[in-house]
Symmetry: D2
Subunit: 295 residues, 4 copies
């Protein structure tokens, strides 16, 4: 018998992820705060529910893909929330980028009710989600992992396990976003030096993307930063700031000095302070350029 | 008729590069300050000369692959140096990592004598040099480029041209080394956060090297930094500091604020100050770990 | 008739401050979570109360001098707290270092009940508090300021007013602590450079304290940092980290990039991570020294 | 018999310093590259010479107050320079801000000729020089110090000795300029946070200048930074960058990581890159404000 899975959160990422579950043959029961967004999936076979609790089957699996920590906490512990509806043997798969501390807290909320928590954040932009090319890292209750394996396989190109600690995968996700932020700063500074030295920004970015940094992260951001193309945004500065703050919070909590993470956070603050919150987060380059007297 | 090429500097990089010229069928005339090092190439067909000037054919091509700016300036302008021996139509291909300002100066020294200067620094470690896997970026006199094309092709897997400005390729090389330094700092901070959060350093490095950062730079340094394996050194901290200083000098000259480059330079200083000058430059991670109270 | 004033929080700062109120002839009614600490003041004329609410006179003035934001919020909004007891016309003078956002929130809690909130944080160590040498900055409800003037005058050598915004004085206090943190970093780096150049640390610190930086901040910290005397702590690293975090939070809230504040925060984190949380906060110098290979 | 002293360099600082020597009754023989500038002192009793060597008495004392290291080295070792004219027993008092390494080199140049070198850089702006309010730090040959004591006393309000190492006083001067740069950055960031929090910049600067930072450095720069008054320049950004570079060079030479010094240098670079090289160096605040979206 086909498993039914609840899906909460149909943003830029959630929508294509839920669609891939449908395509893979799962019964998907979706809930979104703004119901209109869910309608498009009805035509593709999803069941649309008006109340959050109806997306949760006792003993079932529910996936959340929401904007931030507060939103996830709200759907878990708020009135009619997942915590009350899921019950013993149920599994909550939290796929958003949230603080490791939040994952620990959510896991502890589920535990006394016999529900299991898995942190399973993803790497990839909406196009990657649509193409089933997400990379997924997971951690949490071992008992749940076998059961959710086919679900994750339907949404990504590979899942990496980081053990039982429910916060581990959240930390991995923050490390990854920190590493991407670092690429943005690096490309911004390198291209500023190049431009001020009289070189062609695009030639430089191409060179590195084809040779010693031949991976999509450098190729994609190399192109956009070289040509200062920050619209439409793949991931907005404002969200980048949110993630930078999560990284700094994790660094504080673990007493880890991370000067490069602080630098990235300051760039995001500066970009917001200068009116760029809706540009792609690679637009922190505009701050680097401004300090260098470019533009 | 086979072209003869002079080769000056048989260090870790120069030796395999000269060997690849021999393998490709060029007549190679080598000079090294320490003659012993050159002997190994004699058996492979090279002509070993005792005086620098003898490695230079008037009207010929001479390649320099030396430790630093001062060494290159010395072999060009010192007694019996390249500048005097090369003459009209001769080509000096400078493949070391040197300051853009030095490339400009060398080009200006050659110009009145009718000699042509090409900056052609390379990316790759000694193993890559041996395997003919270097990436080469070149800039300088157009007239010279056609003639040296087969030589560069014999040493690398690809050559990228950055125009007529003799300093351009030197700037590209500095940008690249800055980008590598940034990877070291990034991995160091990310793995410190991971370790202090209870994660396995190697698992994290593997994950990123196999997914969103699937390129050798992250794979190789991810492995060494995850396991803190800094010996034997592929590129020593001391040389890393030299390169960091060249980057900062170029940033100063062009009035480009580069906080991440400064951070990298401070790490190199700290590593030297703590007795690590002969470790691989990835050992700046030890400074990050120390500040985080690890080890 | 003499005014009665409630005083909550008898730590290193609160005790001498309450004592100065007694000396000035005020009737002081003190509450401390740990009652033993309050007994010493009984002999000096204070009334010791066992319940927080008993320290608050409806329509009276109550001063809080507590460890952190959470403690102040607890005594205001917790069971039997100030908010319920103070009533219309009562005044809450909050003298701790807390977030501007917390001052705004506390003011908003008091407002509907007709109580007035004044933020009045102080600059000075316990010795300064004992000597009535504190500098006080205040902001908040104008109507309250005339009434509390003699109280503040009894505790400090001068009060500066920053207007009606209840958060303003809290911001001033954070700016000041940031400026002190910056002095610590500055002295630490300057003395590291001096020591590594072969100079005498103490001679250098004395010179600057007697000439271009002839103010107590440079004299006191110059002496302790020059001789690495970090015990007993005047203000512990752990509290310094708390304040650095408040500064960074305020910078985030207002979108103000403050790289020097971030640097100070990283030093505090590093000091805690290296086991120095109970040393004086000037001990961040040990991190500077460690990176320079000193000691 | 009155001592004759040579004085080389009549810039903003040198002119009032030479004038104070005249006022104190010394015979002063002045040389300036631009002779016009020297004429004003002729009326006050100075002897103006057209050739550098004529300002130097064999066995006498010559003071240099020049723009940078290169200028000092030129007047010492250039044709007709001090090194050749001073001879055994002569004393060169170098009062400019120069690299410690330059002081060492100059001392070594004088030594074989029997001439003595004293580094005696000063703290104070032109107004302080005019008012005989300079602070002087000296180091170098003990034998020379007694003889130059009355000269230094005629130019400053106090002289501090840092021993025999000729580079020591140069290092002290760099440490001091670093500390001033740090005050500029500190005030810039603190006032940015204050302004973005809705506070009055001038009120904040006044408060700190009257209370916990009651020393001229904070009062003077507090006023100019609060009101963004950067013209006329007391000390230009361009010269500030030169000094920041000397500090960084000294940090590199001694392997001392100084992140705050790097930050200051980047601010100077940014200010120059944005067209502010002729403003007062406190104008680095404009870069802080720009990143915060102010102005």
């Amino acid at each position: 018998m086909t498993q039914t899975v609840g899906f909460v959160g149909l943003g830029n990422m959630g929508l294509p992820m839920a669609r891939n579950l449908l395509k893979a043959g799962f019964k998907v029961c979706v809930y979104n705060r703004t119901p209109d967004k869910a309608q498009v999936l009805a035509a593709e076979g999803a069941t649309i529910v008006a109340r959050l609790a109806d997306a949760v089957t006792a003993d079932g699996v529910v996936i959340t893909m929401l904007a931030n920590d507060a939103a996830v906490e709200e759907v878990v512990t708020g009135p009619g929330g997942i915590a009350g509806a899921l019950g013993a043997g149920g599994i909550h798969v939290s796929m958003s980028t949230i603080a490791p501390a939040t994952s620990r807290r959510l896991s502890a909320i589920h535990a006394p009710r016999g529900s299991l928590y898995i942190a399973a954040p993803v790497f990839g932009r909406p196009e990657a989600a649509a193409a089933k090319k997400l990379w997924i890292c997971q951690s949490g209750a071992t008992a749940a992992k076998e059961r959710i394996r086919p679900l994750l396989a339907a949404m990504g190109q590979g899942t990496y396990d980081f053990g039982e600690d429910p916060s581990a995968a959240s930390t991995v996700k923050l490390c990854g976003n920190f590493m991407i932020l670092s690429v943005l700063e690096t490309l911004g500074e390198a291209l500023a030096l190049a431009e001020k030295s009289g070189l062609d920004r695009k030639a430089l970015a191409s060179f590195f993307g084809e040779t010693i940094f031949a991976c999509p992260m450098y190729q994609i951001y190399g192109r956009s930063i070289a040509s200062r193309a920050y619209e439409p945004a793949g991931f907005r500065v404002e969200l980048g700031l949110k993630d930078a703050n999560l990284i700094i919070d994790a660094a504080n909590e673990t007493k880890t000095p991370m000067p490069l993470a602080h630098l990235a956070q300051e760039r995001m603050l500066a970009a917001v302070a200068n009116g760029h919150k809706d540009l792609d987060w690679a637009a922190i380059e505009l701050m680097i350029a401004g300090n260098a007297g470019l533009r």
